[in-house]
């Protein structure tokens, strides 16, 4: 932020301190063993559950003739939503010249990459046997939203990965020169990803140009990824899904989820990685305001989504709306609405709630609310058939996820967190060169 002229010496000491602050957690692993152990437990539970599912088929899940989409798909929508934040932070705010996002942007990209990657996997788990994926390529039709979804999730994952890797290039060069004690494989990765960076003006030009191109590209692709995900539902004439605002409703919902997710991650890294000087109260304050903004926009779409059909109460819709608002789904519904939208919209208006700790708590609840919200979007509508049907087994009117299903879902969340953990261990979570530039340190010092 401050760009007063520094002497060469000052710049150098400041920069070296910064590098060691940011890279210390990469070499000092406080509590990492416990964390890895927890993650491994989750992953092995997943492995066992997935083995059962592949061996015995999708019958081990709670899905049935009516609720043919269950927790997996709800979880998938949540993952896509969480992945969207990369685009919001880096592209929308970055391109519009918001400087404060610089130290947050890499965390956002890591979240985006991890969740986008696993989102694709979630779909594979939902298909039962993994080789079923081939059918999408063998029989997939361009007319099917499922094919669009597969395409756009893959494309988004590639672009997000590039957007994570490109801004890493100068950092890799910085690190490989300083952390010379690191294991060989780590040095190899850094060396490879530094792409021979020496910081010539030409290299800077190319890097900025490439990042810019990707930032522009990711805006439509990100909008598409979540719009298409919403179309998986909205292209069906089913009460609760048959909605024209589903695209923007999902996209704005994803912004809320993403901002909440980034705040939680920021808080975690700030505490565990001792990055108070880089992820400051100021950044939380900004994120809190952003939170209010995205929650307000989301509320606008919620009103549209429920008030318009609620005013007409058309047959089918009426039943759906009543079960959500006052019926058997009311508990989950109001939890999602209150913690996932109303509270983030109001509380962070007050300065106190934009402090790191309160904001983090609001965000954790908002993430939980966001997950439940996806569950409520996917499942209730399916439990009521289009036509009056007789002699339907009672259990078709309910959907209860089974143990293996829950374990696999937990496993996918575990996988995403594992990816973030690994990324945050081998790469700096704060973009060193960009933050240094903003602190007025000259390019020469950075690339020395």
């Amino acid at each position: 932020m401050s760009s007063e002229k520094l002497t060469k010496e000052e710049a150098k000491t400041r920069f070296e301190k910064m590098v060691s602050d940011i890279t210390r957690p990469m070499t000092h692993h406080y509590g990492l063993n416990v964390w890895i152990f927890v993650l491994l437990m989750i992953l092995s539970l997943f492995g066992y559950a997935y083995f059962i599912q592949v061996r015995d088929g999708l019958g081990v899940t709670g899905m049935h003739d009516y609720a043919a989409w269950g927790m997996y798909i709800a979880n998938f929508v949540f993952f896509v939503a969480a992945a969207l934040v990369g685009m919001l932070i880096s592209a929308v705010l970055g391109l519009s010249g918001q400087k404060w996002i610089t130290p947050v942007s890499r965390i956002a990209e890591m979240i985006a990459v991890a969740f986008a990657m696993i989102a694709g996997l979630v779909i594979v788990f939902d298909m039962g046997r993994p080789d079923r994926v081939l059918n999408v390529f063998i029989h997939g039709r361009v007319q099917s939203p499922i094919v669009w979804d597969l395409t756009v999730v893959t494309t988004y994952t590639i672009i997000s990965t590039l957007l994570l890797v490109l801004p890493l290039i100068p950092d890799m060069a910085i690190i490989k020169k300083r952390l010379t004690n690191a294991p060989k494989w780590q040095m190899m990765i850094w060396n490879m990803l530094s792409l021979g960076w020496i910081g010539t003006p030409e290299q800077y030009k190319i890097l900025h140009r490439s990042i810019r191109a990707l930032l522009i590209l990711i805006v439509p692709v990100a909008l598409m990824i979540h719009t298409v995900t919403s179309w998986l539902f909205a292209m069906t004439p089913r009460a609760g899904w048959n909605s024209t605002v589903f695209g923007p409703y999902f996209v704005t919902g994803a912004f809320v989820t993403g901002v909440a997710g980034v705040i939680v991650a920021m808080y975690f890294f700030r505490q565990n990685y001792k990055l108070k000087d880089y992820l400051t109260d100021f950044h939380f304050d900004k994120m809190g305001k952003l939170f209010v903004l995205v929650a307000m926009v989301y509320m606008y779409f919620n009103v549209n989504e429920f008030f318009v059909p609620g005013y007409k109460m058309m047959e089918g819709e009426d039943h759906h709306i009543l079960t959500l608002f006052v019926g058997s789904w009311a508990g989950l519904f109001w939890f999602a609405q209150i913690f996932g939208n109303i509270i983030p919209m109001f509380l962070p208006i007050f300065k106190f709630f934009r402090k790191p700790m309160p904001l983090m708590i609001i965000s954790v609840l908002a993430v939980l609310g966001a997950w439940i919200k996806r569950y409520i979007i996917v499942i209730p509508g399916q439990l009521h058939p289009f036509l009056p049907v007789q002699n339907v087994p009672d259990k078709f009117h309910f959907y209860v996820p089974t143990g293996p299903e829950i374990a696999i879902t937990l496993g996918t969340i575990g996988m995403a967190i594992t990816i973030i953990t690994i990324l945050a261990k081998i790469f700096p979570v704060i973009p060193i060169w960009e933050v240094a530039e903003e602190k007025g340190i000259d390019k020469e010092t950075i690339n020395e």
Binding site: H139, G140, R141, V142, Q143, W148, T151, T155, I158, I159, L162, L166, I169, L195, G196, W197, I198, T200, E202, Q203, I206, L207, R209, S210, A213, L214, L217, V221, M224
Partner: protein
Amino acid sequence: MKFNIFNKSILTGFVLSLAFSLSAQDNWTVPANESGKVCPTPFSSTMKMDGKDIFNKNCKSCHGDIGKNNFVPLTPEPGDPASEKFSKNSDGDLFFKITNGKGAMPKFKDQLSESERWAVISYIRSFHKDYTPAEGGNETALEAASFTGKDLKLFVNKDQVNLEITTEVQGNVDGEMVPANGVRVGFFIKRNFGLLPVCEPVTTDDKGIAKAKFPNDLPGDSLGNYNIIIKLIDDDMFGKVEYSETLAWGKSFVYDNPLNHRAMWGNRGNAPIWLLLAYFGMLLSAFVVIGYVMLQLKKLKSLGKK
């Protein structure tokens, strides 16, 4: 819950069996004024043949083939319409019973018109040897029984200009082929899922002739061909006697399968062009940018080597 269902079924079973035993004991009495009713018109052979169709559609499922005693074993049993159980009824009795039904015997009051009910009766009556038409003059159906010869043959004559077919039916009576009178001939066109009757069945006159005119606007295949089938309707009496031929009397018709067009619901080869353009266009633009970035990175790397 379980207990409840169990209870209910016992109760229902009890009530049902009670109802059945009651109705079984109850004799099927027909009011005197109904019993004396007779058909307003004499039974004719056409009527009898209509009756046969009606019987096959509505009654056969329970009463079986008449005279074969293969009715469905219900209690009380439906009975074979050729049996005494039926024949001892007056025409009015039969009419009343068919009209009102009882127990498992459905009531046909709303399903069949009065004349249809009489038609069935005339058909049933043709199996009752001792049946004499009621006072007031029902012609016995037996008398109207059609041609009794064997080995019937069809001789078909086509009038290509007027699309008319004249069929002569002959049968063997005492070793001699003679024109078969009163035999029903059906004229059909073969369609994908069955035979399309061109007209009502035609009964042969005393020269054994039945004629049918074909409409000139029936769709055929792409060349206007269709397959005609001429056959005797009462194949249970005469055996299967059939004539078929492919004629170019129809209108040319080329079936236009909507699945062969590009549409949202089409198969993968038939995606709408605009959709293909949009899909691949977007995909291509995204990967052009990604490719561009890759090239830039390559350049960046080579700059570092200098």
